[in-house]
C-alpha cells in the first residue's frame, strides 16, 4: 500500500510517520512536498504533526493555502483515505475538510503526556481492528488541541457518529477530569461524514512499537492497510 506523507515547512512528525509506515508496517512510504498538486498515485495520505509555518497566527492556518491542500481535497472527494495527526488535524480543520476549530489548551500550556482514549466506532477504515468501546493509551503533545465547534455542529457530529475518539479514564469514563485540554465533549478525533478523512490530536505513530512503551497506535495504521486491502480485493 502506498502512503503519501505531506511535508509542510515546519512539519516535524513527517519522519516519524514515514518510519512507522515503512519500517514498522512494511508498506510503501513517500514524502510529498507541500507544493505538489497530484496525489493520485497514493492509496492513503498522512498529514503529519508539527508546527507548519511555525503555527504562527493559528495552528494550521497558513498551511492550508499550500498547493497540496487542493490535491488533498480532491483526493478525499474521490474517497481516498486521509489521516491528519495533531498539526495535520488542525490543518484539516482550517481547510474545512473537517468541521470545527482548535483553541489554545485550557491550561494555556503545551501538554506532552499519555492519555486514554475511548474508541467509539469500529466500522471505519481507521478503527475497524479495535473492539467497540476499547480504551487505548496514547501520547499527546500539543498547545492548541482544545477542540471547539458550535452546538449545531456538535449535534450533527453526534447524530452522524463522527466522533471517533474521546478522552477518557483508563476504564472508559468520558469525564471532564480526563480531558487534558478542554475539548468540547472530550473530543480527541473526528471523521468526516463520508468516513474517509480522520483528524486526531493524539499521536498513533508514537505508540506503534513496544520499545516506545505501547502499541495501541499500531492498530490505526493496520486498520487502514487492512481496509485498503479488503477494498482492492
Amino acid at each position: 500500500m502506498r502512503f503519501g506523507i505531506v511535508v509542510f515547512p515546519g512539519s516535524n512528525c513527517d519522519a516519524d510517520c514515514y518510519y512507522v509506515i515503512k519500517d514498522v508496517m512494511h508498506e510503501e512510504a513517500f514524502y510529498v512536498w507541500h507544493k505538489e498538486r497530484d496525489l493520485s498515485s497514493f492509496d492513503a495520505v498522512i498529514l503529519p504533526g508539527g508546527f507548519s509555518y511555525g503555527d504562527y497566527l493559528r495552528a494550521g492556518a497558513i498551511a492550508r493555502f499550500s498547493p497540496v491542500m487542493s490535491a488533498v481535497k480532491e483526493f478525499a472527494d474521490k474517497g481516498g483515505l486521509v489521516i491528519g495527526i495533531c498539526n495535520g488535524f488542525q490543518i484539516l480543520l482550517e481547510a474545512g475538510l473537517l468541521p470545527g476549530a482548535m483553541l489554545r489548551n485550557k491550561s494555556l500550556k503545551f501538554i506532552c503526556d499519555q492519555v486514554h482514549l475511548k474508541v467509539s466506532r469500529t466500522d471505519t477504515p481507521f478503527t475497524h481492528l479495535f473492539s467497540e468501546g476499547e480504551v487505548i493509551k496514547i501520547p499527546i503533545a500539543h498547545g492548541e488541541g482544545n477542540y471547539y465547534c458550535d452546538p449545531e455542529t456538535l449535534e450533527s457530529l453526534k447524530s452522524n457518529r463522527q466522533i471517533i475518539f474521546t478522552y477518557s479514564s483508563p476504564e472508559g469514563l468520558e469525564d471532564e477530569e480526563y480531558n487534558p485540554n478542554g475539548s468540547i465533549a472530550n473530543i480527541a478525533g473526528i471523521i468526516n461524514k463520508k468516513g474517509n478523512v480522520l483528524g486526531m490530536m493524539p499521536h498513533p505513530e508514537r505508540c506503534s512499537e513496544a520499545v516506545l512503551g505501547g502499541t495501541d497506535g499500531f492498530k490505526v495504521f493496520a486498520s487502514m492497510i487492512n481496509w485498503a486491502k479488503e477494498a482492492s480485493r
Binding site: 515546519g10 512528525c13 512507522v20 503545551f110 503533545a141
Partner: protein, 731 residues
C-alpha cells in the same frame, strides 16, 4: 579624545587598549574598537577561563573532536557519531525569560547542526530562586515555556535536564541548554576550511538591531546600570530555525559546502573572524549586502547585531547555484556578503568605502589571557565546622514528608510535560522515569543516554569535592539506566572571576571536575563558560553543570527507576553512609546550608559504575536509581511512586543520617530473589557492598529500624506530596 572615552564604556581596560594600539599600529575607529570589545569579552574570548580549561582531559578513545569547535564529537561505532554541547543563556533569560530561554535553545541547536549533525535531543539545566515569590514564578514559567515552545516547534525532543531552587539565583537565574546531534562520521563538518577567493554566504533571518553588545553584556554583573544599557531583546523564530536545519543538512548530504558557521554572540564579527582564523586567511565583508530588517543601520550595528537564526555558509567551488536552489526550496534567502582573502586582515566595507581593517589574529588569538590568584573565602572554613551531633532531633516521618515536598526533590512533571519529549519516536526512557534519558538509534540495536547534573550547594561548600561529585553523579546516572559513560560537556556558571574568592571557587571546581573526568575516562569534549553571574545579592553558588553522554550497546537492556514487581528484593549498592553535609535535609529541616561535603572515592565510583554496567548485560535488575538529593529514603520513595508499588525495608538503625545522607556512589536496586546470588557475586568481584534492605509490595512505604520505630507513609499520600507539589506552587 573620543576613543579614550568610549573604550572603557565598551568594557576594554587601559592595558587592553594599549594592546589594541599595538596590533593596529594606529588608533582604532569606533567599529574596530567595537569588534575588539566583543571578541575580547569573556563570552567570546574566554580570557579568564582559558588557562583553567586547559586542566580538562580532552582526549580519549572515543573522542573525534574535543573543545575548539562549535561542538564536541564522539565515536559510537558503526560510522555513527554523537555531537554535543551545552551553553548558557543566563543574562538574557533574567531580562526576558521566555525569549531569553528560547533563543538559548536556538543557539545551541545551531552549534550542533553547524557540525553537520541532525539535532536529536535537547536537555537543560535550570536554577531559580525559591518558587514562593511571584517574580521567581514568573521567571520559571517564562523560561520553561520558552524552552518548550522553541524545541517543540523544531521537533527536537527535550528529553531531560534538572532544575534547582535556591535564593542565590533569585535575581540571576541560570538557564543552560544542551543539544545532542547524530551524524555519520564521514559527514562531520569541522573548521571552515576556506579557499582563498571563496564567497561567504549569509542565510536565514534578516539583520536587525537586536542584542548589540550582548556578548559584552553577558560578561558583566547584572546591575541597574547594565539593565539600562541592555541591548534590544532578541526574539526567537523557531520556524526559521527549523527551515535552516533542514536546508543546511540538505547541503551537507549533497556535499555542497566547505563549511558552515552559526552566528551567535558577537554576530557577524565573531563568526566571520572564526571562519577566517582557521586557515590564517583574511576576509572582506560588505555590510551593504547584508539583508536588514531595519532602516538606517550603521556598519557598527550590522556587524555587531546578534539577530538570531542566521548562518554563514562557505560553498564548495562551483556549488553556489545548487545551494541557492536548496535555500529557495525552503523559502530562505541566501546572499553573498563577502569573500575569503589571503592577507590575514578582516576588512569591512560599506559599499566602496572601507570602514574597518583589523588583523584577524588580533581578534582571536590576540585576546589577552588573565591568570588570576584565588583566595579561599571566609565562609569555607565556617561551613566545615558543623557538628551534626548537635542538631535538634526531628520527627523522621515529618522530615521525610518535608523532603518529598521540597521543590528540589518533588516531581518535575510540571516542567517536562511542557516539553515534547517524544517527537522523533526515539525516547525510550522518558523524563522522570530514569536517572538519565535514553534514546534509541533507529536502524541499530544501540541507544544513547544523557544527563545533566550539578549539585551546586555541594560545590559551594567544597568546590573541589563538589566538582568531582558533579562528574561522578552524571556518570552514575548513565550507568543506572545501563549506559556506559563516554564523554562530557560542561557549562561553568560562576560569579565575577575578578574577585579572588570567586576565582578560587572556579579553579577548585575545575580541578575537581578534571580529576574525576580523567579518572572515570570521560573526557571533556565541549563546553561553555558563563561568568559574572552576580546581582546585588552577591554571586550565585558556583554551578559547573555537567552534561554527560553514554552508550547502550543494546537498547533492550535499558533500565528505569520504577519498582516492577511485588515481592522483589530491594538492595543498596554501596556503603551505608550517614554524612549529612550539604544535604537537602539540613536545609529543609534545620535551615542550614553547611557541613562537610561527603567525600567521593573515585576508585569506588568507578567500580560501582562498572558493576552497574555488568549487571546491565546480565539483566539481573528490575530497577535502579542512584542516591542523590534526599538520600536513601527519597530514592526508595521515588522508585515506589514510579512503580506504583510500596515497600518495606529494615535498617540497622533509624536516624536522619542513614535516611537522608546524600553521600555519593550508591544506588538502590530491586530484583527478583532468584537473582540475588548473582548480584552478590558480581558485586564482590567489583568490591562494592550489597545491603539487602527489604522487599517491594503493598500500598505502604515502611522504613523500619531495629527497634519498633519506623518511618511510614501511605504510598498514595507520598505520591500526592511528591507529585503535586510543584504544580500546586505554580497554579
Amino acid at each position: 579624545m573620543k576613543n579614550n572615552m568610549s573604550y572603557r564604556d565598551l568594557g576594554i581596560g587601559d592595558d587592553e587598549y594599549r594592546m589594541i594600539l599595538d596590533f593596529m599600529g594606529r588608533e582604532p575607529n569606533e567599529l574596530e574598537l567595537g569588534m575588539f570589545s566583543v571578541m575580547w569579552s569573556e563570552h567570546c574570548g574566554y580570557k579568564n577561563s582559558r588557562p583553567l580549561l586547559k586542566l580538562f582531559p580532552t582526549k580519549g578513545e572515543h573522542v573525534i573532536q574535543g573543545p575548539g569547535e562549535n561542538a564536541g564529537v564522539i565515536d559510537i561505532g558503526d560510522n555513527d557519531a554523537l555531537v554535543f554541547k551545552i551553553e548558557s543563556h543566563n543574562h538574557p533569560s533574567a531580562i526576558e525569560p521566555y525569549q531569553g530561554a528560547a533563543t538559548g535553545v536556538g543557539g545551541i541547536v545551531r552549534d550542533i547542526f553547524t557540525m553537520g549533525a541532525r539535532p536529536v535531543a535537547l536537555l537543560n539545566s535550570l536554577r531559580f530562586g525559591e518558587p514562593y515569590d511571584e517574580r521567581v514564578k514568573e521567571l520559571l514559567a517564562g523560561v520553561v515555556a520558552g524552552i518548550g515552545d522553541y524545541g517543540n516547534c523544531l521537533g527536537i525532543p527535550t528529553v531531560g535536564g534538572e532544575i534547582y531552587f535556591n535564593d542565590c539565583y533569585k535575581e540571576n537565574p541560570l538557564v543552560n541548554a544542551m543539544c545532542i546531534g547524530l551524524v555519520k562520521k564521514d559527514e562531520i563538518k569541522r573548521a571552515v576550511a576556506s579557499r582563498i577567493g571563496s564567497p561567504i554566504m549569509l542565510v536565514g533571518a534578516k539583520t536587525g538591531r537586536d542584542g548589540i553588545h550582548g556578548a559584552t553584556f553577558a560578561s558583566e554583573e547584572l546591575s541597574e546600570e547594565s539593565t539600562a544599557k541592555r541591548p534590544a531583546v532578541q526574539v526567537g523564530d523557531p520556524f526559521m530555525e527549523k527551515l535552516l536545519i533542514e536546508a543546511c543538512l540538505e547541503l551537507i548530504k549533497e556535499d555542497l559546502i566547505d563549511g558552515m558557521q552559526d552566528l551567535g554572540a558577537a554576530g557577524l564579527v565573531s563568526s566571520v573572524a572564526e571562519t577566517a582564523s582557521k586557515e590564517g586567511c583574511g576576509v572582506v565583508i560588505d555590510v551593504l549586502k547584508v539583508p536588514r530588517r531595519e532602516e538606517g543601520m550603521t556598519p557598527y550595528e550590522v556587524m555587531l547585531s546578534e539577530s538570531q537564526e542566521r548562518m554563514l555558509v562557505i560553498p564548495k567551488e562551483g556549488k553556489e547555484k545548487r545551494i541557492a536552489e536548496i535555500f529557495d526550496k525552503w523559502g530562505l534567502d541566501a546572499v553573498v556578503i563577502g569573500q575569503v582573502t589571503d592577507d590575514g586582515i578582516f576588512r569591512v566595507f560599506e559599499g566602496e568605502k572601507e570602514v574597518a581593517a583589523v588583523p584577524v589574529v588580533a581578534l582571536t588569538e590576540g585576546c589577552p589571557v588573565y591568570v588570576r590568584e584565588g583566595i579561599k573565602p571566609d565562609y569555607y572554613r565556617k561551613v566545615q565546622g558543623l557538628n551534626e551531633d548537635e542538631l535538634l532531633s526531628v520527627n523522621l516521618t515529618e522530615a521525610f514528608k518535608k523532603l518529598l515536598a521540597s521543590p528540589n526533590i518533588a516531581s518535575k512533571k510540571w516542567v517536562f510535560s511542557q516539553y515534547d519529549y517524544q517527537v522523533m519516536t526515539n525516547t525510550v526512557v522518558v523524563p522522570g522515569d530514569g536517572d538519565a534519558a535514553v534514546l534509541r538509534i533507529k536502524g541499530t540495536k544501540k541507544g544513547f543516554a544523557a544527563s545533566t547534573d550539578c549539585n551546586s550547594r555541594m560545590v559551594y561548600l567544597n568546590p573541589y569535592e563538589g566538582g568531582m561529585m558533579t562528574v561522578c553523579e552524571a556518570a552514575r546516572n548513565l550507568a543506572c539506566v545501563g549506559a556506559k559513560p563516554l564523554a562530557l560537556t560542561n557549562c561553568l556558571n560562576f560569579g565575577n572571576p575578578e574577585k579572588p574568592e570567586i576565582y578560587w571557587q572556579f579553579k577548585e571546581a575545575v580541578k575537581g571536575m578534571a580529576k574525576a573526568a580523567e579518572f572515570l575516562g570521560t573526557p571533556v569534549v565541549s563546553g561553555n563558560v558563563s561568568l559574572y553571574n552576580e546581582s546585588s545579592n552577591g554571586a550565585v553558588y558556583p554551578t559547573p553543570v555537567v552534561g554527560m553522554v553514554g552508550l547502550l550497546e543494546d537498547i533492550e537492556n535499558r533500565r528505569d527507576m520504577a519498582f516492577k514487581n511485588e515481592g522483589d528484593i530491594i538492595c543498596l549498592l554501596g556503603r551505608l553512609r550517614r554524612e549529612l553535609g550539604g544535604s537537602e535535609y539540613l536545609y529543609v529541616c534545620h535551615g542550614m546550608e553547611s557541613g562537610r561535603v561527603p567525600e567521593v572515592d573515585l576508585e569506588e565510583e568507578k567500580s560501582l559504575i562498572n558493576l552497574l554496567l555488568e549487571l546491565t548485560s546480565l539483566k539481573v535488575l528490575s530497577s535502579c536509581h542512584d542516591i542523590s538529593e534526599g538520600g536513601l529514603a527519597v530514592a526508595l520513595a521515588e522508585s515506589a511512586i514510579k512503580g506504583g508499588i510500596g515497600f518495606s525495608v529494615k535498617l540497622e538503625s533509624l536516624d536522619a543520617g542513614i535516611l537522608f545522607s546524600e553521600a555519593p556512589t550508591r544506588a538502590v536496586v530491586s530484583l527478583n530473589k532468584d537473582n540475588i546470588s548473582k548480584l552478590k557475586e558480581v558485586s564482590s568481584k567489583w568490591g562494592i557492598e550489597v545491603h539487602v534492605l527489604g522487599r517491594t509490595g503493598g500500598e505502604e512505604i515502611i522504613i523500619a529500624g531495629e527497634e519498633n520505630e519506623a518511618v511510614s507513609l501511605n504510598l498514595e499520600e507520598a505520591r500526592q506530596i511528591w507529585g503535586e507539589r510543584l504544580q500546586c506552587l505554580m497554579k
